[in-house]
């Protein structure tokens, strides 16, 4: 009987919503990578670099040493080879951390297998961000503007667009290992992801990271308002 009631309730929603969905035929996303778009992308990239405090770009931005991951929705993520190493967490204020509960992880990331700890400003209790993992992929999310890494992405980047969100991605290798990384904005938050492994597994690492990027973007804006320093 409950199912009949639900069906009736849904069936009685306003005409305007039924019609809105009836006539919706999808959106065609056309990304022209023309000259000015490239320069626009460079400009946007530099703006984000400035905001995030990223280091100087080195070498050619549109390097031929570019690896591309094509997502199942047709979007592409461009990973540019870099010589730089990654930075570490660098937070200038006293902090306190605690593990996020399963419920909190589910609230923030739904079905994604995230384990993370939240980082709070010890002085005023405000949330700075979180650090954790999605499976084997490192995840850092800042709670608001500003980033909790000293060097988010050092080296070269290209700009990609995934579901309308700009993604800055790169990779570097040494003798044995490959590390892929990317940063993007979700609302007020900046998300940084990093995936590393054996060099010969580079393709898999790249694709796994790209899939996680897509899934994180699909979640939409990150809402930290329910995450408090003290567990409820």
């Amino acid at each position: 009987m409950k199912r009949k009631y639900i069906s009736q309730a849904i069936g009685n929603i306003s005409e305007k919503y039924v019609n809105e969905a009836a006539v919706y035929t999808g959106e065609t996303k056309v990304v022209h990578r023309t000259g000015w778009m490239k320069w626009g992308a460079v400009a946007a990239c530099l703006v984000l670099a400035t905001v995030l405090g990223i280091g100087v770009f080195q070498g050619s931005l549109f390097s031929s040493k570019e690896q591309i991951a094509t997502l199942d929705n047709g979007d592409k993520i461009y990973f540019i080879q870099s010589d730089a190493g990654m930075g570490n967490l660098d937070i200038a204020v006293p902090i306190e951390t605690r593990d996020l509960t399963e419920g909190e992880c589910e609230m923030l990331f739904h079905e994604m297998p995230v384990a993370a700890h939240a980082i709070f400003n010890a002085e005023d209790g405000s949330m700075i961000g979180l650090e954790g993992k999605v499976d084997d992929i490192r995840l850092i999310v800042s709670a608001s503007n500003g980033m909790i890494r000293d060097t988010v992405i050092e080296g070269e980047e290209n700009i990609s667009e995934v579901d309308g969100v700009l993604v800055h991605a790169g990779y570097f290798t040494n003798n044995k290992n490959a590390i892929y990384y990317a940063a993007f904005r979700l609302g007020e938050s900046t998300v940084y992801v990093e995936h590393a492994g054996a060099k010969e597994d580079g393709e898999t690492i790249k694709n796994e990271l790209s899939s996680i990027i897509q899934n994180l973007i699909a979640l939409g804006d990150v809402d930290f308002s329910q995450i408090l320093k003290e567990l409820p």
Binding site: I6, Q8, I10, G11, N73, N215
Partner: protein
């Protein structure tokens, strides 16, 4: 590209009692009607019958009615007929898109004894309307395509050009919001 009559012209044909009205209606909205009925009935013959009954339903009600917008009017007739047929069918239950979509929503709604009350269902529909108003257009359409039209995850992913997983995640998030919204409005879950 095939040009179709606009809806007001189709309505004029119905008013003129021209059989061309049904042909135009079918050419313009046959695909979506078949999808709505098919998602619920999961049977080609039942679906065809249901869609034809819906055309007849429009023929019998226009005039005096002058539906605007026409597609939602027609789709609602199709959906109501399909659900009626679904309940009268004894076999092949719980395997359609309609069932799957209802399964997903079940946790969002109250389990009270009075849930069979049609009036209460209409009241809840108004709450869902208010909730849908809080969503952006894309998420609203996503929700309606899934739970009103019973579209499959794959069809929705194709429509929005996103992955199946992205659709599932977005729907889960919307359902969580709906549940929270209904609780805030005093609906006991």
């Amino acid at each position: 590209m095939v040009s179709r009559l606009n809806d007001s012209k189709i309505i004029e044909l119905f008013y003129a009692r021209s059989e061309q009205a049904i042909i135009e209606l079918s050419q313009k909205y046959g695909a979506i009607c078949t999808k709505v009925a098919g998602n619920i009935l999961n049977d080609r013959r039942d679906t065809e019958e249901c869609v034809n009954d819906a055309y007849l339903g429009v023929w019998n009600t226009v005039p005096p009615q002058k539906p605007d917008p026409l597609p939602s009017y027609l789709c609602r007739i199709v959906r109501n007929l399909a659900i009626k047929k679904y309940h009268t069918n004894t076999a092949a239950k719980r395997n359609s898109m309609y069932d799957v979509a209802l399964d997903e929503l079940e946790n969002c709604f109250p389990a009270s004894n009075a849930v069979e009350d049609t009036f209460q269902a209409v009241e809840t529909a108004r709450m869902i309307d208010a909730f849908l108003e809080t969503l952006d257009k894309k998420r609203r359409i996503l929700f309606v395509r899934r739970y009103w039209y019973s579209d499959s995850i794959t069809d929705i992913a194709h429509l929005f050009q996103i992955s199946n997983h992205a659709v599932s995640v977005r729907l889960a998030r919307i359902r969580a919001k709906l549940k929270k919204y209904l609780i805030e409005k005093g609906v006991s879950i």
